[in-house]
């Protein structure tokens, strides 16, 4: 049986967990002292050896990303933290930055030292005002304590950190769109290659890492690569947040080794709400193909989830019971993608627009079976045909929901409308005998 392993969330129940003093009392910034005595390349090797893979969804090895920075490029190097958490279902970085922004700051300082950069940015989405306050406060406290600035802890290493707030655009979570946004432009993805490691912010060598990835670094430095790689599975090392939301008794953040299953997590979260049963779920946000109750025992690591036809993504487990209309859920997601498509690439801009039209008539009982083929055809023209993965993400819920719930789509037009009562799915719905609709 897998157990929870609180590391990043270990001190979140202390009232001032966000304060520098509390963080230090709990052993914070010891990893930085240790890191500053190490050679920068040794830290990169340590992070590589830990097996840490990006926690922002794609799962690219973090240490390898750091190692890609060209040695001979004379331009300044930059570290940019992607704190633009916006993938539907994903809600781990926001509570982390609210409860313990200092672990992120310590990670930023260590990572900057490791890659030899003197200017870091934290790009945080703007719609989370109190998180912005906590980050600003954390940077100010760290600066006042000599942890940021010139000659940090007498090491000769200088670093400045700027908290930069976005302005409401999902696409800025894509790393090259984020860089364009940080440069003061519309957030539109760039063609890769060149990757940010070679030509990132201001066309300089840049590392872009997710909040949770960077926050995992102090632990690795303090406890060692083997400590980290001792958790998780062979190719998906370590721990991470599993964020349960929706029709579960106790939604929330569950920090566990990669490879835990939804069955185990549901058991910890009190199960599906009483009188109901699991219908479908996302393993890692709305851009990852949905799973059903067939997939309760799939180990939630990168390889196993991939082999079962989806992606681990951000471990954003959105749980829906049998009162939920899958057509309505999919329509709403596609409305989101249509709204957030930056418009640069035609397949994504047009494909999402048309999928909304088709899904809307299906949901309202006015579709036909040909519409299902039309949707799949649009997905075929979306997948892999744009600069970034936003369009690919949009195809995920459409294709997977048709795959698992084709009959339910058909029922909508044979029955002349949606057979579900939305009131039954709400948080305040009266418990029922589990009849479903």
């Amino acid at each position: 049986m897998t157990t929870l392993t609180p590391v990043l969330s270990k001190h979140w129940d202390q009232a001032d967990s966000f304060a520098l003093e509390t963080y230090r009392r709990n052993g914070g910034y010891e990893a930085l002292r240790k890191a500053l005595r190490m050679a920068p390349d040794d830290i990169v090797e340590m992070v590589k050896a830990s097996g840490l893979r990006g926690r922002g969804g794609a799962g690219f090895p973090t240490g390898m990303k750091w190692g890609f920075l060209p040695k001979d490029n004379p331009n300044p190097r930059y570290l940019v933290v992607n704190a633009d958490e916006s993938e539907p279902g994903t809600c781990k970085d926001i509570p982390l930055m609210l409860a313990n922004p200092q672990v992120l700051i310590e990670g930023v300082i260590i990572a900057s030292y490791a890659i030899n950069c003197n200017q870091a940015f934290i790009y945080v989405r703007g719609e989370v005002l109190h998180v912005v306050r906590r980050l600003q406060h954390a940077v100010a406290e760290a600066r006042a304590a000599g942890l940021i600035g010139e000659n940090i802890l007498g090491s000769g290493f200088d670093l400045d950190i700027v908290v930069h707030t976005g302005a409401g655009a999902y696409i800025c979570g894509e790393e090259t769109a984020l860089l364009d946004s940080l440069e003061g432009y519309r957030g539109q993805p760039r063609l890769k290659p060149p990757f940010p490691a070679v030509a990132g912010l201001y066309a300089s060598p840049t590392v872009v890492n997710n909040v949770e990835s960077i926050a995992s670094v102090p632990g690795i430095v303090a406890e060692g690569a083997e400590w980290f790689s001792g958790m998780g599975t062979e190719k998906s090392k370590g721990f991470g947040f599993f964020s349960l939301s929706g029709h579960v008794v106790r939604p929330g953040q569950y920090e566990a080794p990669l490879g835990i299953t939804l069955r185990e997590l549901l058991d910890m979260a009190g199960g599906i709400r009483p009188g109901h049963r699991l219908k479908f779920w996302t393993p890692g946000g709305s851009s990852t193909p949905i799973f059903t109750d067939e997939h309760l025992d799939v180990p939630l690591d990168f390889e196993s989830v991939g082999a079962a036809g989806s992606m681990l993504g951000t471990r954003a487990l959105q749980i829906f019971d049998e009162t939920t209309c899958v057509v309505r859920a999919t329509l709403r997601w596609i409305e989101f993608y249509a709204h957030e498509s930056c418009g640069k690439c035609t397949p994504c801009r047009e494909g999402n627009y048309w999928m909304v039209q088709v899904l809307d008539r299906l949901e309202h009982g006015k579709g036909t079976e040909a519409d299902l083929d039309k949707l799949l055809d649009i997905c075929d023209n979306l997948l892999g045909r744009s600069f970034c993965a936003l369009g690919d993400g949009a195809a995920s819920p459409v294709m997977s929901s048709i795959k698992y719930f084709r009959e339910e789509y058909i029922e909508h037009f044979t029955g002349g409308g949606c057979p579900f009562d939305p009131a039954r799915a709400t948080l305040w719905a009266e418990p029922t005998g589990g009849k479903g609709r």
Partner: protein
């Protein structure tokens, strides 16, 4: 009969000389944070929004002047990002998440009931200028669904009743306290100033974590589950225990 020709976006309010002088000082500070001036554009737009409540034509010109770029270049950016408003916003911006998870958990019903209760549509403001209602995309609080944001502060686990009381309180000026946020809600303009990078000194107010954020930790404490200790060797917990 002539049909009216659609004109350009109204200029909006003028930015007075006093305000401009004040903002220039702030703008200098913002620009100094970045290796390249243009990176200051997003915070500068939050700054002009903190002065006027929205981004007026004068606000756009101001940003363009500070950065040495054209008003057209600034406008292209303003219109890309949903947090920048081109028309005045109420004192309180009330956002209801209607992305899939919140919608299904009741966000759709909350949004519908608020529209009726306030007598406004999406992206419209009540006649008293107090509340602007808008539906939002995912705000990264899914474990607290359904979520309502007021001036970008979290109001978790809402119901139609709690949301209606919330907007009523906002309109009469009664105390309103976010679930995870400071002790009270600041105004839309004040919020924009924080987003521009000028702290309001309220970071230490409010809870460090909401209930849902703590559920895994509490369960681990209850069951004696811990992450392994470094160098614990074979006897260390690796996140597995015998069934």
């Amino acid at each position: 009969m002539s049909t009216p020709i659609p004109g350009p976006q109204p200029r909006g309010e003028r930015l007075g000389d006093d305000a401009r002088a004040r903002l220039e000082v702030d703008a200098k500070e913002i620009i100094s944070r970045y290796p390249r001036r243009r990176s200051a554009l997003l915070p500068l737009l939050h700054l002009v929004q903190s002065e006027q409540g929205y981004v007026s034509a004068d606000g756009i010109d101001f940003c363009a002047d500070q950065l040495g770029i054209t008003a057209a270049e600034v406008t292209a950016v303003v219109t890309f990002y949903t947090m920048y408003k081109r028309r005045p916003v109420g004192e309180y911006h009330v956002g209801v998440c209607t992305n899939t998870l919140c919608a299904i958990m009741g966000g759709d019903q909350i949004f519908a009931e608020l529209k009726e209760h306030l007598g406004v549509g999406n992206d419209e403001t009540t006649a008293d200028g107090k509340v602007t209602l808008e539906h939002l995309e995912c705000n990264a609080a899914c474990d607290f669904a359904p979520v309502v944001m007021v001036n970008w502060e979290f109001f978790d686990n809402q119901t139609p009743e709690s949301a209606k009381k919330l907007v009523d309180d906002l309109r009469v000026g009664a105390d309103v306290r976010p679930t995870r946020g400071p002790d009270s809600v600041c105004t839309w303009k004040q919020a924009s100033r924080v987003l521009a990078g000028f702290p309001d000194g309220r970071a230490a107010e409010g809870v460090q974590a909401g209930e849902a954020s703590l559920r895994g930790l509490r369960l681990a404490r209850e069951r004696g589950w811990r992450a392994p200790e470094a160098g614990a060797g074979d006897g260390g917990n690796t996140g597995k225990e015998a069934s």
